[in-house]
């Protein structure tokens, strides 16, 4: 928590110097995400151990359910986005419902002792996550000025990632202090999640946050049809197409770590720590890259982020002994794309449909990445990991060039 607060504080003072601060709403939402991620990553960190050592189950069956949940979560995201726009600014309450649903799942884990109920609880948890994401991002974008949006998302993502890093630490400290203290981990996780909901309820303004003068045109009424017709807007269509294109060439994290282990000979005992490397780089770079995006243009940073990913692929192909560098580039990729894409998409969606618009972009990107995972897995099977990686490197380079041409008009008009 210390790291995130210092960084957030530094970003705020730096912002003030440049004449524009990160809105209190963003800091409040960042705090909510930080607390919630501590809670959810606590559970994620101990779940395999709990299943095998605590319950004596073979957790293999989860792999099969995982894909289903992910698809479901993408659809729920659209629902959450739409619900939040209906009624003009129910963002806070839809997000709050999502956070509360996930919080309630934690004590349920104490009661579930076999794979099926545990699977159902995790599905409910993901539903909560799916529901809250788009309204939360809409709130962040609505409470910041267009000039500081990149920074606002950067601060939020940094705080979010700090929570993700602290969660496993908290869980293992509890397991250390107890024996088989999974019940304590779930109970503490629940308490932390409730605190997150409470911070949201108490400190995030409800209704339309700091409304800005943006004429509401006729096609921007928050109906389902309006949400769908968002894609008729040229700007948003371009954004979505680019996110889709690049998503199609973004190899999923689990493959990146497997490739790292195979190609750069990462010792087994470090394997589980690889995601922490990515997260640490993401945490450190989210704010500076967000600010950079505000200054030099979001699309430039977004594309540069994919350049970092391309460099990471190249290092993997070259089998250069540079695990830390690959993880740094991987984290930089997230820092330059995750929040920055939301900041960029916000520019092309009217306020009244902000939540739905962001959900459309997020869902498109998630589905494209899922398709890439399937394709990459198949390519790996057919041709081996090296060829599969060559193919995705080529695909990513191609998609980046295409995006560059598609986005050029946007960039010059911005």
């Amino acid at each position: 928590m210390y790291v995130a607060e210092t960084r957030a504080a530094r970003a705020t003072t730096a912002g003030r110097r440049r004449g524009g601060t990160v809105a209190p709403t963003v800091l409040a939402l960042g705090t909510v995400s930080l607390i919630t991620d501590v809670s959810s990553e606590m559970v994620t960190a101990v779940l395999p151990l709990y299943l095998v050592a605590g319950l004596g189950l073979s957790p293999l069956g989860f792999g099969l359910l995982d894909g289903v949940y992910n698809g479901f979560s993408a659809v729920v995201r659209l629902v959450g986005g739409h619900l939040a726009d209906r009624g003009g600014g129910r963002h806070k309450w839809v997000a709050g419902f999502g956070y509360a649903l996930s919080a309630l799942c934690k004590p349920l884990l104490l009661l579930a002792h076999s794979l099926t109920p545990i699977g159902l609880v995790l599905a409910a948890d993901r539903t909560g996550k799916g529901l809250r994401t788009a309204p939360r991002d809409a709130l962040i974008s609505l409470s910041s000025t267009p000039e500081t949006r990149g920074r606002a998302f950067g601060v939020h993502r940094a705080m979010d990632t700090a929570g993700a890093l602290l969660g496993p630490l908290a869980a293992f400290l509890i397991l250390r202090a107890t024996v088989d203290g999974y019940d304590a981990v779930f109970t503490v996780s629940f308490c932390v999640a409730v605190l997150g909901v409470l911070v949201l309820v108490l400190f995030v303004p409800g209704g339309r946050a700091e409304p800005r003068a943006e004429p509401a045109s006729d096609d921007a009424r928050p109906t389902l049809r309006a949400a769908l017709s968002l894609l008729r807007r040229r700007d948003l269509r371009r954004v979505t197409v680019c996110a889709l294109l690049l998503g199609l060439a973004t190899v999923s994290d689990s493959f990146v770590y497997l490739l790292l282990q195979r190609r750069l000979d990462v010792p087994d005992r470090w394997f589980a720590l690889l995601p922490l490397g990515t997260a640490a780089a993401f945490l450190l770079l989210a704010v500076p890259l967000g600010r950079l995006a505000d200054r030099v243009g979001r699309w430039r940073v977004f594309l540069a982020g994919h350049g970092a990913l391309l460099a990471a692929y190249a290092l993997l192909l070259a089998s250069a002994h540079s695990v830390a560098l690959v993880l740094l580039l991987h984290g930089a990729f997230y820092a330059a794309t995750d929040g920055v894409l939301m900041a960029a998409a916000s520019d092309s969606v009217p306020e009244s449909l902000r939540s739905s618009g962001l959900a459309v972009v997020q869902t498109g990107q998630a589905l494209a990445r899922f398709a890439c995972s399937l394709g990459f897995g198949a390519a790996w099977t057919l041709w081996g990991d090296r060829t599969a990686l060559w193919a995705s490197t080529a695909a990513l380079a191609l998609c980046a060039v295409l995006s560059l041409t598609i986005l050029r008009p946007l960039e010059s008009s911005a």
Binding site: E41, T44, A45, L47, P48, L49, V52, A53, G56, L57, S58, P59, L60, G63, L64, L65, D66, N70, S114, L115, T116, L122, P168, L169, F172, I174, A177, T178, V179, D180, G181, D183, A184, T187, V188, C191, V192, V194, L195, L198, V199, L202, F203, D253, S254, Y257, L258, P267, D268, R269, F271, A272, L273, L274, L276, T278, G377, W380, T381, G384
Partner: protein, 344 residues
């Protein structure tokens, strides 16, 4: 609500939630203290010398509460519920044969646990150790004591998912040569070379020729019994729906858990024995779902673990489908009969 009131509400909530959180941790750690005290009516455990070459002994992980919880412990094979001798060596999973032991351990780190496999000599002294990439689940040593194998569940392949895979490793104890994952072996499935990224192996069991082993291979949502060849580095599918195989001492039969139809998803397995010559399957007389790699006590008798009040209990059952299961030991898991010294 004013900012002051909101902060007061938050403060009150933080206090209440912190109280609940601290109480739950204290409760769980008090339980830890209780577990370090011997439970009344439990088995008698005393410290002593445990060797992997003493004839007529069964060595296992003692799960009974008390100062020797989780230690490798030995009892007379003829009186498995009798007094236990604890060695001081802690393991999650264990197996031994011909004076070689393999002990899968957790190494408690600051940020997270890591796991390793110790190769032990007959006096339980560490000869070698290897990193294990995830939570260990199965361990085996070849009847000659020359090879050891283990399986781990690997999570963490994805950042926040609940996707798990398994890795099975084999080591030549004499040279220290390690195959960290059987995925390096060539797979021959239904007579053809087969490659897939979703291949998983678990539950290795060795024959006494120092060349043949059997294991489970999972791919495309099906499980197969494979026969492996340590020299040719190949595995060949023999049969479907076989998990955690265990080869009989005479090398003719495989005891295994089979996913039976119509059973609940969280308890889907039944014990079977497969005759390798006729490929005939015999259902065993255990009506419960068994999630363990069974051990052959002798050519007619199997021993396996089922969940119990203190972790797990050991049961015995005839390998021919007759009789009924009998509990031979409470608070015990990962048994090995150390008198079976075939070869080496």
């Amino acid at each position: 609500m004013t900012v002051r009131n909101r902060l007061l509400v938050l403060l009150a909530a933080v206090l209440a939630l912190a109280t609940v959180a601290v109480l739950s941790v204290l409760h769980a750690s008090a339980r830890a203290d209780r577990r370090n005290e011997t439970q009344p009516g439990g088995p008698r455990v005393s410290a002593g010398r445990v060797a992997l070459t003493t004839p007529g002994r069964m060595v296992f992980r003692n799960m009974a509460w008390g100062p020797h919880r989780d230690e490798l412990t030995s009892v007379p094979a003829s009186d498995p519920s009798g007094p236990r001798t604890a060695s001081g060596v802690k393991c999650l999973r264990f197996y031994a044969a011909a004076g070689t032991g393999v002990c899968l351990q957790a190494v408690h780190g600051a940020v997270s646990d890591s796991y390793r496999a110790l190769v032990l000599d007959a006096r339980l002294k560490e000869k070698d150790h290897y990193d294990v990439p995830g939570i260990p689940s199965r361990a085996r040593v070849s009847p000659t004591g020359h090879f050891a194998a283990w399986t781990a569940f690997v999570g963490g392949d994805s950042y926040a998912g609940t996707d798990f895979s398994t890795r099975a490793a084999i080591v030549d104890v004499r040279t220290g040569e390690l195959t960290p994952s059987l995925e390096a072996y060539r797979v021959i499935k239904d007579g053809h070379a087969y490659r897939s990224a979703d291949v998983n192996f678990w539950g290795v069991t060795f024959a006494s020729d120092d060349r043949t082993f059997y294991a489970t291979l999972a791919t495309q949502r099906k499980t197969y019994l494979v026969r492996g060849d340590l020299r040719a580095r190949t595995v060949t599918t023999l049969h479907t729906n076989v998990e955690c195989p265990s080869l009989s001492p005479d090398g003719t039969r495989i005891a295994y858990k089979k996913r039976a139809k119509g059973l609940p998803k969280d308890a889907p397995w039944r014990l079977y024995v497969l005759d390798l010559r006729t490929m005939h399957e015999t259902a065993l007389a255990e009506p419960r779902s068994v999630d363990d790699q069974a051990v052959w006590k002798d050519p007619r008798t199997l021993v396996y673990a089922l969940p119990g009040d203190y972790g797990a209990d050991l049961y015995t059952l005839p390998a021919d489908g007759t009789g009924k299961p009998r509990r031979i030991s409470t608070a015990a898991v990962s048994p090995a009969y150390v008198n079976q010294t075939t070869g080496g």
